[in-house]
Symmetry: C3
């Protein structure tokens, strides 16, 4: 990313830079679009790395005031691509689990430490880690088509993205555990009442309405917003990093457990049996 201030930031750039993302910079807005629509924007190992690069670029480019994230096609994001669990060498499973844990910890950290306002534009269903990290965004607008689902226990896993700490803060344990422990899928309206999102917007005006809001935000005094965001985050930053580390440590254990392997195998069999 360019570190020089730019008075002319209207040109689009970088859309060819990534294979799994579309990105652009326009009028102070760094837009990220998850771009694997045929796979419901499931996050591959490559997409984790590209998202971290894009966030780094948005943080460092002085022409960027705010960043947005949305999905291409009908889905926002179907979460971790479970094919990441395929082709696992049984002799090497511990190393693969540890490496995956390190990747996830770096990924979530890049959201914890993003220094400018980060706006989620949830255009459709959201699953897993794409839901949990929303708790680290500064505003989230969701289409009324959006749903939110974190099926950790169905897959023999455990919460990530700081959701084990942030979700109970947002909605209380009694409601957070429906998501974190008991696999409940909630609507956009429920996500609003549970303080996960800022507002529900009818799908037919979603792009138009959110574009207007984002344009308004990008014209506010940028230093004031950035200092304010850092101030708000600083009160929680160390706690969030500790939670992230602990969540990844538990997940690395889960991924090596028989219970988790059975649950994921079961998932693939159900998928196949639908064909």
């Amino acid at each position: 990313g360019s570190e020089a201030p730019s008075s002319d930031s209207t040109q689009s750039s970088g859309s060819q830079k990534y294979e799994t993302l579309l990105t652009s910079i326009n009028d102070g807005v760094y837009s990220i679009t998850l771009n694997r629509p045929n796979k419901k924007n499931a996050i591959t190992l490559q997409m984790y790395e590209e998202l971290m690069s894009a966030l780094k670029e948005a943080a460092e480019d002085k022409s960027v005031v705010i960043a947005t994230m949305t999905g291409s096609g009908d889905y926002y994001c179907s979460g971790n691509d479970l094919s990441n669990f395929m082709n696992i060498d049984p002799n090497n499973i511990e190393k693969m689990a540890i490496d995956a844990g390190k990747l996830l910890e770096r990924f979530v950290s890049s959201f914890i430490d993003f220094p400018k306002p980060l706006i989620g534009l949830v255009n459709g269903p959201a699953v897993g880690v794409s839901v949990t990290v929303l708790g680290l965004f500064d505003a989230v607008y969701a289409s009324d088509r959006a749903t939110f689902n974190t099926p950790f226990s169905n897959l023999g896993q455990s919460p990530e993205g700081c959701s084990s700490y942030v979700f109970p803060k947002l909605m209380g344990a009694a409601k957070a555990n429906e998501l974190l422990l008991f696999n409940k899928k909630i609507s956009a309206a429920e996500a609003f009442h549970r303080n996960l999102i800022t507002q529900v917007i009818p799908d037919d005006v979603f792009v138009k309405e959110t574009s207007a809001r984002v344009a308004y935000m990008a014209k506010l005094p940028p230093q004031s917003m950035s200092y304010s965001k850092v101030l708000i985050r600083d009160a929680e930053r160390q706690t969030l990093h500790n939670v992230n580390k602990e969540e990844c440590r538990v997940l690395v254990g889960r991924w090596q457990s028989q219970e988790c392997m059975n649950a994921i195998m079961n998932f693939f069999q159900q998928k196949t049996s639908k064909l």
Copy 2:
């Protein structure tokens, strides 16, 4: 409790083990029913001890996946049995207050540290400590007949069950203090909006609906749920223990105050005058 894994856990056990509780183990569910219906399930010193024993048994029995708590008869629980305050030797009041504080701290700790999902099934009105510890449960379903009331200041007392910390987190200080300071009784619907409970269920289908949910939960991968619960709790565990200790310290002082004695005496006089 048996520590051996049991593949056949459908037999019921222990219902004769306690005088103030009914307990059973079926299909991975440890069910606790407060069983003093003629006294609105008020908690005597014996019931405090028996509840701790039952929670310990549920934690240690490897056939148990989740635990539930409900009340026998019309009430869920009318709170601390105020007859616990009767027959107090005026020369011995300090020791009795200290002992009661130690009992309460142990009792609340047994909820903080319970390692498996704990589900509240609030079948009717709930009062005092039976309300405050709900903030330490993992899910709470309430009949639309349920009400929630913590009349601390009416009785010259102060918050317990970690409610001084948990209730403001759930609903903000402006609403929590209606309960903690100003004796407001809230409906099940209000308890839902204030994030104290997971869902309100019509009374005529309460047992049927909650049984189905509990059965679903008990079939989820048990290690995944248990690891997830411990992860969620660990982020707050030490804070909760500190809050519990401090709440009990303040209460021990309150119990020895003239203000509290007058309030409780007043309570018994009102009760008597109704006869």
Copy 3:
């Protein structure tokens, strides 16, 4: 303030003591009315000092059980009087910013440490610091005419009154940032759903309804309420003081920034151009 217990506390006192406030003590209630109705009760440097004095008096007077704060005229409070930013000697701006930061930190601390129930009676629109410190009150009743607005970034500034920490706790980051970063003005109903206030009351019965509630509260056992309030606050007290200090440090920097000066100059020009 008198430190002696008073059995006859019905006399009114102190209404002549302050130039910017009306105060009175009646039946255990210390009432504070912001009294610059022609200036929408904007807070001058003198009013900051007088509010701290009044809170100190209410804390120390043993006849006082609870304190209330409301506004005179149509507004509750329009926030910091921006004329506090006028007549700034350009050679002396750093010292003036540092002094203003110290004043603000003392002011917010007096709310953090107020030892008795403090009730906000928001009779009309509330802006800026008068909104943020509401998060430190114990109950807040608002007229349905009230609105809540903290235009920090519009004025090139950053959050104060512990709102950078308290508002995300009350309503989650996704909704808090609408206020803290993006200048959204919310209605009383929205403030209720976001847990900032206890209840919305129709304007035509606001004084009558809130007087009855306050009178009820003031008759509850005072030590029980005071011990309970201190217990609730102690769990957060040190965190709140740290947040207050950090917020003021950031604001002192903001006040010396070109971005903030431009934003405030712009505000005065818009005001003038409306004449």
